[in-house]
């Protein structure tokens, strides 16, 4: 019974933890502008995250080492170093976007300008990494993130055309008046929002913090195979809610506040408050996770002690890396660059870098010497490889589309 409770908790945490500012923004923008015609991209990204998340989790549980350890061991110092640098750079950008997201959520709650919140948020993110136990961060914020289910509830209270919704998902058509390159650009942004590297590293390192082993494979699989897809559905609900409310009025999403308009229209103040709680939880947790992820991968590459299971003075270099990451992200947001734009750039650049992070996972998950009987089976490999081809195509198309569409104008 206790095991079932633990399992459910883990899955719910994964659902709530899946959504971050990238998902909020891209789902809102695309729902308002393209209807459901880009739902396929969101589902594709979610499927990929589920597949590779499970692989990374399996490698972690079986080898009892975090993914980055294994990457350096099996793929060599140079490949792992490239991976490390690219991931660190991306993490700072992602962290900056998340801090911006928290600021926007707090601005919506208080009408105090988001910029004033940024330094406070930066401090809080660092403080949570420094002092708050890992389990608390994961559980509390993961569960609070479930508040975003108001979007699902809102769907039932709006004039949702369920048939049109379904056909938009299954039969995507570029809306008239929108260019194809822009459509593809936003498809990439949705995929990038689902396949964020920090999430994989955090999932893996978190597994070590929780002392996963082969016995935990079932629990890990539940988290990845149930939690992530349901998290993706949550993002889908955000996209779908934008369709009856924002699209008919030609309201484009340029700010986080517009993403929430459907919930207000459907559920009023109560919905608004719950939603803001969800916004805050999702973005704050993501900020903490992406900062910690930088510390994790650096320490895991260089063999430093890391993690929150030990006192800070036992893992000082890990904490310093996290601190530096938070400082960089905070400083970047204090330049008053638009948080929504930062979010878009971070998911798109993330999309371009996905093959770099996912290739090692595919390789090590296949390593029979490491994984024994738990190495990838034929189906997983077929799916993994097919998906890898897709993300390489995405990666190649990203920068050209970024320039052609001028970042989605």
């Amino acid at each position: 019974m206790k095991r079932l409770l633990n399992l459910t908790l883990g899955v719910m945490t994964a659902i709530g933890g899946f959504v971050d500012i990238g998902n909020l923004v891209t789902s809102g923008i695309t729902g308002a502008r393209f209807g459901m015609s880009l739902a396929w991209a969101l589902l594709l990204g979610t499927a990929g995250m589920t597949l590779y998340g499970e692989m990374a989790g399996r490698v972690t549980a079986v080898s009892r080492r975090p993914i980055f350890h294994v990457v350096r061991e099996r793929l060599g110092v140079r490949t792992a170093m490239v991976n490390l640098v690219a991931s660190l750079l991306l993490n700072v950008l992602t962290l900056a976007a998340e801090i911006g997201g928290v600021g926007l959520a707090l601005a919506l709650a208080s009408s105090i300008n988001y910029i004033l919140w940024v330094p406070i948020i930066g401090f809080l993110v660092w403080f949570f990494i420094w002092k708050v136990p890992f389990a608390v961060i994961e559980r509390v914020f993961g569960l609070l993130g479930l508040a975003l289910m108001v979007f699902v509830v809102a769907l039932f209270h709006l004039h949702t055309h369920w048939h049109a919704l379904a056909s938009g998902i299954v039969n995507p058509v570029v809306p008239s008046g929108e260019g194809h390159p822009t459509w593809w650009f936003y498809a990439i942004s949705l995929i990038g929002a689902a396949l964020v590297p920090y999430q994989v590293f955090f999932f893996s390192s978190g597994g070590i913090e929780e002392k996963w082993s082969v016995e935990h494979l079932g629990e890990m699989r539940a988290n990845a195979l149930i939690g992530f897809p349901l998290g993706g559905l949550l993002s889908l609900a955000i996209m779908a809610a934008a369709v009856p409310v924002l699209q008919p009025r030609s309201i484009g999403v340029n700010h986080l506040g517009e993403v929430g308009l459907p919930v207000i229209a459907a559920l009023g103040k109560v919905g608004l408050i719950i939603m803001l709680l969800g916004f805050f939880a999702a973005t704050f947790a993501a900020a903490v996770e992406s900062a910690m992820s930088s510390g994790y991968i650096t320490a895991q590459y260089l063999g430093w002690s890391w993690g929150k299971q030990v006192r800070p003075s036992q893992a000082p270099r890990f904490h310093v890396v996290c601190l530096i990451t938070v400082l960089l992200g905070t400083a970047f947001m204090l330049t008053t660059v638009d948080p929504v734009k930062v979010t878009l750039v971070s998911v798109v650049l993330g999309a371009a870098a996905i093959p770099l992070t996912f290739f090692p996972i595919l390789v090590v998950a296949n390593d029979r010497r490491l994984m024994g009987k738990h190495a990838n089976g034929r189906i997983v490999n077929a799916l993994g490889f097919a998906f890898f081809v897709v993300i390489v195509a995405v990666s190649v198309a990203t920068l050209p589309l970024l320039f052609i569409t001028k970042a989605g104008q």
């Binding site: 061991e73 110092v77 260089l302 002690s305 270099r317 310093v320």
Partner: protein, 133 residues
């Protein structure tokens, strides 16, 4: 598969494959570094045998190779201007146990000499922040 410390006649290729880039744990299971490089001794009969594990940026740099490697080593040297630039040597006799999952030493990290950066960071930065003990 385990190996004890007597008779470390491990063939070079196997050592490279099996030992390189592994995490090194000390006597108390604390991570103290990675196997950044290996040192071999030539026996009288000409065969190389593993003699020490090398650890640290000056060991890792050459393996990174190219300009990055040289740069890596020079940064490490700059951080330790007074110390001997050679990497930390962990003699093979200090290794307690090696298997697929762990590589454990008989000694503690401080004795192995790999934790200088950690102690510096700890003393200069972490301990100065409230709650850093």
């Amino acid at each position: 598969m385990t190996a004890d410390t007597s008779g470390w006649g491990i063939p070079v290729g196997y050592a490279n494959e099996f030992l390189l880039d592994r995490e090194i744990l000390d006597k108390d299971d604390t991570p103290v570094g990675k196997v950044d490089d290996l040192d071999f001794e030539i026996l009288p009969d000409g065969s190389p045998v593993l003699s020490a594990i090398l650890c640290g940026p000056t060991a890792l740099g050459p393996r990174l190779g190219g300009r990055l490697g040289t740069w890596w080593v020079s940064i490490a040297r700059r951080l330790r201007p007074n110390d001997d630039p050679t990497p930390v040597h962990v003699g093979i006799d200090d290794v307690d146990h090696v298997d697929r999952e762990t590589l454990r030493l008989r000694i503690t990290g401080s004795n192995a000499g790999t934790l200088r950066l950690q102690r510096w960071v700890d003393a200069k930065i972490v301990k100065r922040i409230p709650g850093g003990e």
